[in-house]
Amino acid sequence: MRGGGLSALLFLMPMLVVFTVFSWIPIGQTVLMSLQQTNLVTDPVFVGFDNFRTVLKDPLLWTAVRNTLWFAFLALIIGYPAPLVLAVLMNEVRKLRGLYSALAYLPVVVPPVVAVLLWKFFYDAGPHGMFNTVLGWFGFEPVSWLQDASIAMVSLVVEATWAAAGGTVIIYLAALTRVPPELYEAAELDGASVWRKVWHVTLPQLRGVLLITFILQIVGTAQVFLEPFLFTGGGPANQTTTILLLIYNYAFATSLGGDYGAATALSLMLAVVLAVLSALYFRLTRSWSTS
């Protein structure tokens, strides 16, 4: 059954139309628009690299870059190990495993907007706020979770971790079932303790998956939008303005039609940085991930 000819083309039509109009052309347009001054009224004008210069000169850009890196870093130390620890522990459970996985996954199906709005309430700064009530039991002072510039980002990361960890747990659990039992048995013959088995068998066996979830997390956190947008709107004092929030503000913050040139220039720069980062990462780690 080769060629297919006309009928293959007909069956491909929906995909070709949808991808052309809503994916391929817009991707090309991004490049074009980053070199133009565009608004909804007049015709676009070519301005060379002016948009890039404008963005790079914007002092807010460097705030946003710093905040995004800070978010990514916090997500790495809080959000990256959490699902791994959970999955390794859950893999030892023999009874009611389904219950454990279902409980771990449940936050993932809560709509993200609901999750953020709910946590916003939990993060209430007053002494009767949910988390502050718990702190009160132990005699601690109430904390301004979202208003205090030094911990607002941590609060955002904790919520984001809660919302996403379950998905990663399921991926790790699937990978854990593929660890050959012989490796554990061999380690046991050598008298390895539980910790040594985890360190020398489990983690090395998971490295392929761990490497992928690592870069996926970096790419994901570099584009964080929902949490800063809904929790803090970038505040206090721009301390939670991320790159994506800045792109959004360039393009859509005013209803008159924003600075589309600057927005596309910045999104293009972000995409290139992420692509280069991923390529470098996979090149560097290729030798360890062969499993």
Partner: protein, 287 residues
């Protein structure tokens, strides 16, 4: 598939290990219960608790009084019913478009196999590597040019351009026995017949996976519908809820949040295995 983890069955029989394991498993269950189910249960409780109770004692296990009217108020006076319907319509349309695009494309590429299939597949998969933020502004302007602002099509059509779905369907169809297709062909079935009567019925498992992910993703979506549906009367729950917070009383607002959470949670409970097998996701991540 192994039936053991770090601990061997011999380890598990030792009294010390057994006791330790029981403590660890119990603690783990307590943590998962509190963190995973806790907030959802709390939301369910808060939905039927008067504002003052929720504010004064947010952690009370049992409310002083119930206020079931919250749910009714949210549903009718705050018009959650309308936004709920919008959410359902948006999800249903996005689901249909994604299914249509992914199945026809998967069928053409995997079963009919035109000569240019490799190129097409490559160009589709390449979009997986383009972060969605790159599309945001030009896609918004495309929608403006097509005068689709405030139309559900603005959400439905772009949803179809999902390379991940096509990858999933293509992989699945590549795994089906080709003899069946050849036999059908010999019996005189044309491509349409082959698609409708042979391939579609055989694709039920992958249709289920694509469907559930499509509905959940649409239910979760926020930024895109917010941009292209500025008119509140066509907005889905996710877009409307943050705005409602400003002028609705807390207990009613929490009831609205609970209503928005209900459908995804129910879908999850029904299709648990689809989510938890990790098959679809794990397989894709493994690459």
């Amino acid at each position: 598939m192994s039936d053991r983890g770090v601990l061997s069955s011999y380890d598990r029989k030792r009294p010390g290990v057994r006791r330790g394991l029981r403590v660890v498993n119990g603690a783990l269950l307590a943590v998962l219960f509190t963190a995973g189910l806790g907030p959802v249960l709390w939301l369910a409780k808060a939905a039927v608790t008067p504002t003052q109770d929720t504010l004064r004692t947010p952690l009370a296990l049992w409310p002083n009084g119930f206020d079931f009217a919250n749910l009714a108020t949210a549903w009718t006076r705050v018009e959650i019913d309308k936004y709920f319907l919008n959410t359902v319509l948006l999800a249903a349309g996005a689901w249909l478009v994604q299914l249509l695009v992914a199945m026809t494309a998967g069928f053409a590429l995997s079963v009919l196999r035109p000569r240019y299939r490799k190129i097409v597949t490559a160009v589709v998969l390449a979009t997986l590597f383009v972060p969605s933020v790159v599309l945001l502004v030009p896609l918004y302007l495309t929608i403006t040019d097509l005068s689709l602002i405030n139309s559900f099509w603005a959400v439905w059509l772009p949803a179809g351009a999902n390379a991940f779905n096509i990858l999933l369907v293509q992989r699945f169809l590549d795994g089906l026995p080709r003899e069946v297709f050849e036999a059908a062909r010999v019996d005189g079935a044309g491509p349409l017949r082959l698609f409708w009567s042979i391939v579609l019925p055989m694709s039920r498992p992958i249709l289920g996976v694509v469907s559930v992910f499509a509905v959940i993703a649409s239910w979760k979506d926020f930024l895109w519908p917010m941009l292209v549906l500025p008119d509140p009367s066509v907005q889905p729950l996710s877009v409307r809820l943050p705005a409602l917070q400003r002028f609705v009383e807390l207990d009613v607002f929490l009831a609205a949040l609970a209503i928005s959470t209900l459908i995804p949670v129910v879908l999850f409970l029904i299709f648990q295995r689809l989510f938890l097998n990790g098959g679809a996701l794990g397989g894709a991540v493994k690459g």
